[in-house]
Structures are given as C-alpha cells and as structure tokens.
C-alpha cells in the first residue's frame, strides 16, 4: 500500500512552495486585498511559466500532461500562500468542465490558453441565494443566446470566458439544464464587481443580454456534467483549504511560542496548547480525507462522489476552525488589519461557500453514502 504522494510529487510540492514563498509573500496578497489590483498578474504569468496552471491538462492541449494528483499538490501550496489569482475558477472549474465535456475544437481553443496563463475562465452557476440545484438555474438559453443574471461568479469581472449553466427546458427535471461557453469579449455580457468577505479574490455579477454562446456538451446533459465538475473542484479546493488550515495552525503555533504573558510563553498554558492540538486534529483528519479524494479523482473511481463530499466537508471545517482559532491565539493583534490572520479567516469563510455551502455538502455526502449502501 502506498496511500501517499510519490517522491516526484513531493518534489513538485517543494518547488511550488519555494516559488510561492518568493513570488507570493503576504504583501503580494495585500496588493489585491487592498483593491490595488484585481489579481496578481505577475504571479499568474509566473505560475504559467512554471507549468503549474496546465499541470493536469494533457500535452496535446498545451499542458504538462501530469495529472490530478499533481494538481492537488499545487492546490495545497496555493492555499497555504493565499495566492490572489483566479486558479480555482479557471483551472478547477472551467478547465475541468472543458476537459469533461468540451469538443475537440473547444479544447484546442481554451486549454492551451489556460495553460499559458493567457485565458481566465470561470463557472457562472449561481443566481443569488441558494445552493447548486437545477431548480435554481433560471438563466434562459434559446437559439444559442443567453439571457439572465448570474451572481456571485468567481473572478467574473476578469474572466475571458465563462462556462454558463442555463435552462433549456421546463420539464422540472435535471435534463432542463444545459451548459454553454460564452466568450466574454464577444459582447452581450456585462460584468459588475461585487464586494465580498475576501477581497483578495474577486466576485462579480454577470448580466447576459442576448449573449451568443456555444453549447458545451450535449443539450440536457448540463446538470450531469456540472455534478462531476463540482466533485472535481471539491477535491481540488479541499487541498487549497488544507493548505490554508496548515498555515493558520503554524502561525498560531509560532505566535504561541514567541509571545510571553504572565512571565511565560502563552503556548505553555493548557488552554492555548489544547486549542492548538484540536486545530492539528482537524487539519489531520481533513488531510487524510483529502488524500482519499485525490486517489478517487486521479483514478476516476466510483467512490469519487462520496470521497469528494467527505474531503470538502472535512477541509472546510478544518480551515474555518484553524483560521478562527489562529486569531484567538493571537489575541488583540490577531484582530488588526496589520496582522495576516484575518486574510486566512476571510479566505476560509469564502472558500466554505464557493462550491455550495457546508450544509449542501453534508446533505450530499449522506445521500451518496445511502445510495452506495442501497446498491
């Protein structure tokens, strides 16, 4: 049994960590957080040059042709560094959707551009409140044009193209939903930046008015494709979350060792030690669930839907837990803008929602386990 990453994959992790330590220090995250830039363009280019953006894209489409395990490794490091770039929207969502359902022409058009850092993509799924569900998709598609409003759309204001979930039927079934590819530069879509709890990453409202778009995948297959895309993205995002959780835990641990109060390091008080021990427990459980998700994703196993939901729930909880208690360990200083703790807290709570909330995935996990047991 080797339920672990390979030596090559661990080497890739070390490379990515070194690269990000240099190119993505906290002050780079703050440039985007403070609204000076919509995303870190230099970092995005650098990631493309390192081959990280196309690590799971086949060589024939301009990628490195490695695989999803390598992408999990990159995702974890990006999460540790809070990289302020549109990786999740472009790579976990848009590229995965095209890989799963795109025509050869669509793959040739967008995948090499993604790998080269020349195209930013996103998934336009949500329409206000609510979790992923066919009923919540109201945007209409008819005659190859889209009409409706999507929000929040991650990185919607900087995207070059969007995978759009649209309603093409009214039977009340999943087959009413189809996917489309919309070129944001071709007109018919207006983007408005929205304020959000994590300004180091962008959220937007996209208004489609007679926007020309081409189908992605077969008509009526939209929900089935989306479900797979969300499972893939759940595993990848979970690695980002575990990376963030680990870093928040380290920050708390380091501060507890350095900070003296009542004549001793605060890390010698059991109240603080035990809080940090519980953070370690959450992060460890999440990492192990993520490894199972990575295995299922990389082998396209039948267990993927269940494994993805478990990884998603566990990693969401761990990142939220570690980020909030990191602030607690830091005390008052943790609540300042100057300290980096709030950036992890913001990211933890934003990533908890992007692919559907915790309660959505809890429900999904048990439904999937039940289905498996019944089978």
């Amino acid at each position: 049994m080797n339920f672990d990453f390979s030596d090559d994959q661990k080497q890739l992790r070390d490379e990515a960590r070194k690269f990000l330590a240099e190119k993505c220090p906290p002050k780079a995250v703050r440039t985007v957080l403070d609204g000076k830039e919509p995303y870190d363009r230099t970092l995005w280019k650098g990631l493309a040059e390192m081959g990280f953006l196309g690590v799971a894209i086949p060589e024939e489409f301009g990628g490195a042709g490695a695989g999803h395990l390598e992408l999990c490794v990159i995702a974890e490091e990006m999460g540790r560094a809070l990289a302020p770039v549109p990786l999740s929207s472009t790579v976990y969502l848009a590229a995965e959707a095209i890989l799963l359902a795109g025509s050869d022409a669509q793959k040739r058009k967008w995948l090499p551009a993604i790998a080269a850092g020349e195209a930013i993509g996103t998934l336009a799924l949500f329409e206000g409140k609510g979790n992923p569900s066919p009923q919540n998709v109201k945007l209409q598609a008819a005659g190859g044009t889209l009409n409706g409003v999507k929000k929040p759309v991650p990185d919607g204001a900087i995207a070059d193209f969007a995978v759009v979930a649209a309603r093409t039927g009214s039977s009340g079934r999943e087959s009413d939903i189809s996917l489309f590819l919309a070129d944001m530069k071709a007109g018919g879509v207006e983007a408005k930046t929205l304020t959000n709890i994590d300004p180091s990453r962008g959220q937007a409202e996209l208004t489609f008015k007679n926007c020309k778009a081409e189908p992605l995948g077969a008509a009526g297959e939209g929900w089935s494709i989306l479900s797979q895309v969300l499972d893939h993205a759940a595993v990848l995002m979970a690695f980002e979350q575990v990376g963030g959780a680990d870093r928040a835990l380290e920050m708390g641990r380091d501060y507890a060792l350095d900070r003296i109060a009542f004549g001793r390091p605060i890390g010698s008080f059991q109240a603080v030690k035990h809080m940090l021990a519980d953070m370690y427990v959450s992060a460890t459980l999440a990492r192990s669930n993520c490894y199972y998700g990575a295995w299922a994703l990389s082998t396209n196993a039948g267990e993927l839907p269940e494994a993805a939901a478990a990884a998603r729930i566990s990693a969401t909880q761990a990142f939220q837990h570690c980020a909030k208690n990191n602030i607690q360990v830091h005390g008052g200083m943790g609540f300042t803008w100057e300290f980096d703790c709030h950036m992890y807290y913001r990211r933890a709570n934003a990533t908890a929602l992007g692919l559907g909330s915790l309660s959505y995935w809890e429900d999904a996990l048990i439904a999937r386990m039940r289905k498996k047991n019944a089978a």
Binding site: M1, N2, F3, D4, S268, K273, V281
Partner: protein, 415 residues
C-alpha cells in the same frame, strides 16, 4: 497513490487469509462482528476460554505476536505484516482484548529489560495466551501523574518487600503475572525514586478486588500489596531508574496501528437508515443528515489517517505522530454518537433492556461505557498535551513538583 499490496505483502496476506479461513472459531464470527463498545459477549460460551483457545491455536501455527522474535514465541514479522494480519483476522481480533496489555506493553518491557533466561521462560507462554499479564502502574494518587505513585518497595536482603495499592488494573483478576512500578526512594524528586519489577500475581499478599464501574460492569481492579516478597532477580532495569523503564512500556502502547478504534459511526449510520420517524426514514431528515455527515468525515478521516500510517510502515518508515489522534477523536465521538442515538429514540431511549430497547440496547450500553474511553490509556487532556508538545513543539507544562523531594510534595488540596 494506491491501496495495493506489494507482491510480498500480497503473498503474506493470502497465507494469513487461508490459515484464518481454515482455523478461526467461525461459530462466533457473527456475534463478534456485531459486538460494539460496552458489549462483547458470546452467548453460551466463556469468552476467556474461547480467546485463550484461539490464541494458543495461533501460537502453535506461528501466528501469535507476529512482530516478536521467533525465539520468544513470535514470528519475526515486519510491522506491515502485523497490520495485514490484523486486517485479515477481522472480528476474531476482538478476542485479543485480554492479551493487548501483555503483548503490547509487558512483553516489550520484558524484552528490553529482563535477562535472557527469563525472556525464554516467560515470553513464549505470554505469546500463546497460556499466561496473561497485567500492568500495575496507576494508583489512587497517581493517574495521569503516574510518577506520583506511592506503593513502596523496600530492600530486604536479596528480596524486595512491597506495600501499597494499585488501581485501574485491567484484567488483574485473570492475570498470572504483572509488571509493577514502585517507589524505592521517597527522598528524591518523584521521577528519580521509582523502580520496576515483574511478579507472580499468585504471590502471597497480593489481593485483587474488582471495581464496579459506572457502567455496571467490572473490567478493572484494585490490587492491594501487603508485604509481598519479590526477588531482586525480578527487577527490570536499575534501582531508581523505573521511570525510564516505564517510558519503554508506554511508548509501546501506541504501537497498535491499524487495530482500529471504535467510533460508533457504522452502527449509527445503519440505525438511522432503518429508523422510521414521523416523516419517513431518519436518514432523510436534514438535521439527522448534518449530524451524520459530521461524524462520517471524522470516521473516514481516522480510517485514512491510519492508511497513511500503514503506508509509512509499508515503506519501512516509522509512522508519524498523526496516528496519535485516533483515541482522542474516537473517544469523545463514540460518546456523542451514543447520546444522539438515544435522542433519536425519544422517551423510549431511556430503556436499556435487550427486549425493550432499540437494537437490543446497543447504544445504551455504548453510552454508559463511553466515559471510560476518554480516561483510560491517557485522558483526552493528556492526549492533547502529547500532540501539543511532541507534534507541535509547544513547551511542557510547568511542573512545580519537579525538583521537590517526593515526600515534600503536598498530598491534599483544600484542607
């Protein structure tokens, strides 16, 4: 990343599987499979006898204490082979409960500190289950703070005379031998005046009294020592070096990787799948689902944490400290799971008789046994200290009694 055996591992697994299929006491398989925390019983059979017979059969065929050297009754197997054996032994592994302390703690301590002749005399019957061993460390005044123990050992010619009391001794009532930690010098700080021995539990002056637990069962004992004589040849390690000897024992406590800790989750999932509430099956209720999902990811997180440790073993590495979270997570989880299962039963959840209670009172038994799991073998708080200090590198607790002679340490709080 894969779950596959190496060719050698696969060959070992096939051999183990075949032997177990041909030799295991199959008539008890179903009962053992269904048993859960607080309830391992075999109808119409004495579990001690069944367990001893299975252990002897394993030993005769070379399947006992796999990781021990052959000359001491083991098989000389690698750590990963031991894990594969446990996986294949499955529910029959529950019959090993009464040997865990002897095989996991007393045996390794004897191997490290006893003389060669003693090892050859005592270890093979320990491996084969013909002799059962217990560990006599905890005392009324020394639980988590085990170095605070007060049982005295005084030198008298070539012997030591023991007086004092031990508590929480698992299986003392059916044990043949024990390892015993005593105080030999009360005039030095507490860790520096301890000495370890092994002794025959039938020695004159040893009295075993079962403790009736909060759950109503009796798994543990008090053991009283009144002028018990132990020859100096049964001393393990140097005089006053008992603390270091006990660390060897306690380090081995963590070695049971892959043995699995009971979380109660599979039982709860099955229960919720079958339980009908007013609006349909419990498992379709959003509140129930949310609770189940939170426990599901803890149970799977533990399972795959253990897989990561097994992978390290398979590569010939020592597993990392992440495995130390198992008992901490499972202990409080099984308690919460049991309480929730009773909640789902409504007012009838109070009933615990096998005929009246849901699934024969399994969750009621689990609830009543669960508090012990958070205390035995290191309390939740000690486990968190271990993680904080050994994994995260945080400072040790400030110990006000560290440099104080043992006999000057206060013995009472409020006076």
């Amino acid at each position: 990343m894969n779950f596959d055996d190496t060719p050698q591992e696969a060959a070992f697994r096939a051999e183990a599987k075949a032997w177990i299929a041909a030799n295991a006491p199959k008539q008890y398989e179903e009962e053992l499979r269904k048993s859960s925390l607080g309830r391992t019983v075999l109808k119409g059979a004495n579990i001690l006898e069944v367990a001893k017979a299975w252990q002897k059969k394993k030993a005769d065929a070379g399947w006992a204490c796999l990781h021990w050297p052959k000359e001491y009754g083991g098989r000389g197997s690698s750590p990963i082979e031991r894990v594969i054996w446990q996986q294949e032994e499955g529910p029959f592994g529950k019959l090993s409960g009464m040997f865990i302390i002897g095989h996991g703690m007393c045996g390794p301590t004897m191997m490290a500190f006893a003389g060669e002749e003693q090892k050859r005399q005592y270890l093979p019957p320990l491996a084969s289950g013909e002799k059962i061993w217990c560990q006599l460390f905890s005392e009324p005044a020394g639980g988590s703070d085990v170095a605070g123990l007060r049982t005295r050992a005084e030198k008298n010619g070539g012997d030591w005379i023991i007086n004092g009391q031990k508590i929480w001794t698992s299986g003392a009532h059916y044990s043949d031998y024990g390892i015993l930690l005593t105080r030999t010098d009360p005039n030095v700080p507490k860790h520096k005046g301890l000495t370890m021995f092994f002794l025959d539990m039938k020695s004159k002056g040893v009295e075993v009294r079962p403790i009736k637990q909060a759950s109503g069962q009796s798994d543990f004992n008090e053991v009283y020592f009144t002028d018990v004589k132990i020859p100096d040849s049964q001393r393990l390690g140097e005089v006053n070096d008992g603390w270091n000897v006990s660390l060897t024992t306690l380090m081995n406590e963590r070695s049971a990787i892959g043995a699995g800790v009971s979380t109660g989750f599979p039982e709860l999932f099955e229960f919720c799948s079958n339980l009908m509430l007013e609006d349909g099956p419990a498992i379709d209720d959003p509140g129930v689902r949310s609770k189940l999902a939170n426990w599901a990811v803890k149970a799977s997180g533990l399972k795959y944490t253990s897989m990561r440790a097994i992978s390290a073993l398979s590569r010939g590495e020592r597993p990392g400290p992440e495995n130390s979270i198992g008992k901490l997570v499972a202990g409080s989880m099984v308690q919460d799971v049991a309480a929730y299962a009773l909640d789902l039963q409504g007012a009838a959840g109070v009933l615990s008789g096998p005929e009246d209670a849901e699934i024969a009172g399994k969750f009621q038994a689990m609830l009543l046994r669960a508090p012990g799991t958070r205390v035995e073998g290191g309390t939740d708080e000690i486990m968190r200290n271990i993680i904080a200090e050994r994994v995260l590198g945080l400072p040790g607790d400030i110990r006000v009694d560290k440099d104080v002679p043992f006999n000057k340490i206060p013995t009472k709080g409020r006076s």
